[in-house]
Symmetry: C4
Subunit: 277 residues, 4 copies
Amino acid sequence: MSATPEANPRRETLWRIIFLSDTRPGRAFDVALIVLILLSVGTLMLESVDELREAHGRWFSLLEWTLTGLFTLEYLARLWVVRRSWSYALSFFGLVDLVSILPSYLELLVPDTHYLMTFRVLRLLRMFRILKLAEYSGEANVLLNALKASRRKIAVFFMTVMTLVLIEGTVMYVIEHDENAGFRNIPQSIYWAIVTLTTVGYGDVAPVTVLGKMMASVIMLTGFTIIAVPTGIVTQEIGREMRGAVRGPFRRCRECGWQENDPSARFCQQCGTRLEM
Amino acid sequence: MSATPEANPRRETLWRIIFLSDTRPGRAFDVALIVLILLSVGTLMLESVDELREAHGRWFSLLEWTLTGLFTLEYLARLWVVRRSWSYALSFFGLVDLVSILPSYLELLVPDTHYLMTFRVLRLLRMFRILKLAEYSGEANVLLNALKASRRKIAVFFMTVMTLVLIEGTVMYVIEHDENAGFRNIPQSIYWAIVTLTTVGYGDVAPVTVLGKMMASVIMLTGFTIIAVPTGIVTQEIGREMRGAVRGPFRRCRECGWQENDPSARFCQQCGTRLEM
Amino acid sequence: MSATPEANPRRETLWRIIFLSDTRPGRAFDVALIVLILLSVGTLMLESVDELREAHGRWFSLLEWTLTGLFTLEYLARLWVVRRSWSYALSFFGLVDLVSILPSYLELLVPDTHYLMTFRVLRLLRMFRILKLAEYSGEANVLLNALKASRRKIAVFFMTVMTLVLIEGTVMYVIEHDENAGFRNIPQSIYWAIVTLTTVGYGDVAPVTVLGKMMASVIMLTGFTIIAVPTGIVTQEIGREMRGAVRGPFRRCRECGWQENDPSARFCQQCGTRLEM
Amino acid sequence: MSATPEANPRRETLWRIIFLSDTRPGRAFDVALIVLILLSVGTLMLESVDELREAHGRWFSLLEWTLTGLFTLEYLARLWVVRRSWSYALSFFGLVDLVSILPSYLELLVPDTHYLMTFRVLRLLRMFRILKLAEYSGEANVLLNALKASRRKIAVFFMTVMTLVLIEGTVMYVIEHDENAGFRNIPQSIYWAIVTLTTVGYGDVAPVTVLGKMMASVIMLTGFTIIAVPTGIVTQEIGREMRGAVRGPFRRCRECGWQENDPSARFCQQCGTRLEM
């Protein structure tokens, strides 16, 4: 339970509040943190709207500095309470925490580095870490495991799609580029092929020649089946995960130790010993 | 059967006609109600077309007032026949019924509140309550239960999508906003990210810079897999519901422990022992 | 085998050639018919292109009259060889056959009825009847049965979508119609809602106000899950059809006649009699 | 192991390097080849960008000739090391290899045949052959087998879609062609129908009449269900493949007839009898 036994009690209490959610103040801290992160993301979003920045620039600036101050305090507190400061500082979340406060200070030295503050959005990922402890944990795990299990199949799928998109883009470039500015070079044509294959279809680039439209029709119709593939993969993996959660664990044989007997098996698959019910 | 035993017979008969569909006049009332609701929604739709309103404004007005009158009568009748008027009046459907007649009267006092009549569209939901009693009940339940069972997984999915859309929108804003009015602020860029990730792709906002197009291509291709997730969830839950509806829970044999006897089985498939009912 | 025993031999042979595909000339006739139908559809398509009609109008006309002549002969032959001419003439395919030759003759009397010839496209459906006899029969049946089994669920789904689209269209009309010609009336707004929910997203109508874009984002994101529903239904029904085809027939008990014992059952579910392996 | 026993040792070593990946130099050759193919595809892509070609045309030319030289050497080496040169030269990959070097030389004789070099993109397919030997083999096979197994069902589906698209395109042509240049002939209207049914929705062609929009709404909504079909097919086939790959065929017990023993089981789950291997 206590991962920081030798720490002084105050530090340990603070550590528990900041890093865990198993106490009332710990949960309050988490909720407050999420609210502040959402607030800082919201400020960043609204500040990017010219009309709002011109009208309320002062308030945005004030809010931003207040939040930067609070996040700095939180960052220093985290550094203090963990036992190995460096390993936290160099962890993914440690770096995100640092990167989300640095740009505000950096702007005082180098102007126009304001945009780097957009990294603060990444702090939203912390929300998921907090969720992990909550009741959604099981559901999130099913989805995450399903995606993990689909990893390789989706990698193979993506390589196929990339090759397809390269070939289709090049063919469309050859067909269209003399009459259509949208296909004026191959990278642009590949962009079109991706927009088409994913069925997004902005329409900023579209074939104009008869041959181009025929080719595009073929691409769209074959794209149909290709789109079905990741859905098929993910659906099956989610199903496997869900069945795993429902069907219960395999049965272990006490005699030979074989661990993957069906939940419904009456005799061990490997040594034939009767399994206890 | 009789949920209003002490009521006077006329009131009870009327209650049965209005709220149930198990008698001939009850079904006739339901059908008439659906027709009138569809008629009122149709009127509202056509009246919003400028040319039609200018040409036939009088008739629309007449039809609208007739329908408002009929719905008012129906509302008063409902209030009268139910035993607890207030609990009906404050129920979801009670409020929808009230809100669908109020705007017509309100317009006599306050002009331009006509648009509120659009709430009348909500009365269409009543169609589903009527359907519930009919043969489609089982099918609707399968879909509804599947969506209910998917609730949490879809909530986790939406949080992921929202975070993704925030990050993608911000990154595209940084890349594009100097050269593309479509990405002139972060909320607008997030709108683009949603339009892209859902593969709607209006094309009112589209990247113009080379880097922006590359980023957009990555977003579209990863979006591919992400789109597969809700389909996977819903497909699996529908499958589970359908299997459950068709077979019910399996029956376990006490003698041999076989767990997958059909719910309708009377003897164990595996050892022939009589199953307790 | 012989469904027209009392007919004269020539008529019977012709009937077999025209209506069945179990002889060499029967298959040749089917192939020739498909080729002619595709040719006539192709002619119709190309003739609609202004440049081609102006350049080669004569040839199109000649080809069209030749094909009309051949189809007329075929229609008369069909009428002659079937035993009950009227029941063929009034059947779906009989009417399609008639309707596909009438417009050519009609045009001689009434000008500009040429467009009715587009009904000839429906003759393509005959291709599927021919396919039915071929090796694709099983595959087509799986898909057809799956869609049939999904019928009711999809009907419930469509009613939900229609209600949703009505409500969303009306809400967007209220939000956007003052500033956006694309939402100038409710039917137009509903058209937008359908274009958006199906993720087609032409972009001919798109929200321009901030509130409209926010509302549209919500509609797109919820549409995500809704799109998953028909895919889920169809996937599960195809799966059920495929399992049915693979898993083999249920086992029938010789003792009590119960027909739905699992293919793997060793004892009858209903009477406990041992099933023969 | 040694497929070319009688060859001289040097030739055999080279054959092993070029065609297999089971030695260190063999893997190095494969990696180098993929890098060179990607480099040549990249060069082709960038050269198609006018600004880059004008600025760095010389370098592109140099790189292209170097790569053509290397690929020519590789092609000659392949011809030399294989036992049956002609059967390699006429195989799919042999032809792709030839076609990817010919255009460069052809351009010296006939100008403007440069575009044929786009065939070089096809060499990317070789990547998959290399992958086949690697750890992704199993995953790629599941996907490939699933698509193969779906072959016929998808063929039936495509015929349905083609017929539907022909009919829908013709109907929309009749409705729209007087008022909308986008539907000025039937092939163009069919292009629109494909763009709509696949939910790509560029928006370069969109209905403008009221009737056209109503018809388009019906097409989009029915298209919904139709899109679900290929996803359903592919999902089920991937599921079948995955189950098959994980478990193999079940084993049947000769004693009790239980048919669903795991492929790895040595004793029957149900009666404990030893299964024959």
